[in-house]
Symmetry: C2
Amino acid sequence: MLKPRTRIQERNSKAILEAGLDVFSQHGFRGATLDQIAEVAGLSKPNLLYYFPSKDAVYLALLDHLLDTWLDPLRLMNPKGDPVTEVLSYVRRKLDLSRDYPRESRLFANEMLQGAPRMLAAIEGPLKTLVDEKAQVLRRWIAEGRIAPVHPIHLIFSIWALTQHYADFDVQVCGVLGPGHDPYAEAQEFLTLLFRRLLNPTEAT
Amino acid sequence: MLKPRTRIQERNSKAILEAGLDVFSQHGFRGATLDQIAEVAGLSKPNLLYYFPSKDAVYLALLDHLLDTWLDPLRLMNPKGDPVTEVLSYVRRKLDLSRDYPRESRLFANEMLQGAPRMLAAIEGPLKTLVDEKAQVLRRWIAEGRIAPVHPIHLIFSIWALTQHYADFDVQVCGVLGPGHDPYAEAQEFLTLLFRRLLNPTEAT
DNA sequence: GTCTATACTCTGATAGAC
DNA sequence: GTCTATCAGAGTATAGAC
């Protein structure tokens, strides 16, 4: 990406990334075209390529920013807080992310469906490291009898799956629910109940 | 699709659909190319187009077959069976589907991410009808106090999300778990526990 | 039924005027 | 910095020989 030096450059770079997010998140890397991205950004194709040297560069700039945003909610899970509250807050933050940044969620999903050719290193590196770290926290909570004994990594997977579903499968969710629903409000309630029941240490297995 | 009349036609039609499943499920409709599909199928591009008149036709043939397979596990949920057992069996069938037909799962996911341009009618029609019907069964079970009171449609969403995640995000699941894991066996155990705890009617909310 | 050859469009990227 | 013009290659699809 061109290092922005003027207001125009700032504005156009941002417009391109916005447009790229629109198009890549809907059609994946190969299905997206520079024509379409340029049109959405309100620029000519050569002008777009003045700011980013290639299609790949636009995509990589988006991915680069994505992982951090995506993992922040998990990072915020506090090892010193109340276990059930911490997990429920994490679920809420992750669901808010799906609601407020559905395109980012879909971009991520598209990359995964393709086999994560441009993100594999990040998954096996920083992402795995963070998950392992938080899984340790969950294991401690389990050992202390403060949450029910469940597989900690699959617990994290379940949070990812359940929250991202509402962004990635939005069409299906809305189509099946029909009109007059607030999917995210209902999901918030449902997921709170679900994880409360799953993790409550006083329940029998 | 050409109506198969000979063994060769039978074989080639199937090879094309297999190859199309490979490529479309990974790259989505626009990202897939006939070149690639033909190569995977072991045919020349014009020969492929002898069996299917267009790229769209291959894709539609795949989608057409997909929805039925996809909804069968839900259809099998028996209104006269034991509620918790029925839901857990449904979860197991759906998870088996993810394990045995991951490409079908990804094809479906790709179509959803694109906004379901070729499946919207099916979602708002047959799919919604089936879900509404089964949601009624769940509501009855709740009213009879045989499962805990949860939003029936979001319960179904949660089963979809949790099971499909293991197929669609396979790279991530395997990358984070690291070697020496059997994701589906672990998921089976985790999900059984999760839904048992969620639905058990004797638990307090 | 299958292939070669090809028409024609789209796509990513570059050159060069302004 | 932005545009028009353009290139080379890939893409879908068709024609026609065998």
